[in-house]
Symmetry: C2
Subunit: 105 residues, 2 copies
């Protein structure tokens, strides 16, 4: 679903990825990552879609909460499997949302 975020400013972490041939355990780990993120202080929402590439955008209150999540998530992913197993390539962009608007039918 489209995340219900508060009024800007807030932060967006744009995670774009292509998968390797090894998908073992990926979907379980992705679900777990969302659950863990939701428990983090400063978490505002998450959106995710995948076809040829995957795009996951998570929204955060500030840079501090993103930093805390990075430390938490890196730790958990490392414990589980080693995060680079699943990805052929990924790019992470940390951005500050300055303005937003929406349409609903």
């Amino acid at each position: 679903m489209i995340a219900k975020t508060p009024l800007p400013p807030y932060y967006a972490v744009i995670f774009s990825s292509t998968m390797s041939d090894n998908h073992d355990g990926y979907s379980e780990m992705a679900d777990l990552m969302v659950k863990l993120a939701e428990q983090q202080d400063g978490f505002l929402g998450i959106e995710s879609a995948r076809d040829e590439i995957g795009i996951t955008v998570s929204y955060w209150k500030d840079l501090e909460s993103i930093k805390n999540w990075k430390m938490q998530s890196d730790h958990k992913i490392a414990q589980k499997n080693g995060n680079s197993d699943w990805y052929a390539r990924y790019k992470v962009r940390i951005s500050k949302v300055e303005r937003d608007y929406e349409f609903e039918r």
Copy 2:
């Protein structure tokens, strides 16, 4: 594909959407929008994925180029069909990319 963007700072427009039942002409229009965006001054790249929701992130040099694209795209979409036909809901977030990093196997 994952967009090859220059060093930050630059801007990201995060467009998240859910579709209505009417998909007539949508795919052709989406392809045309990408072609038009690529011709705009300040366009840096675009990434798109759709499953339950669609996420399209376009990257731009500055706010001015985003504003020019919005005027251009609104115009073209309006000429074609009326943009709200296809979407049940959408949200647009204008954000400034402050930092990025990547991994490649």
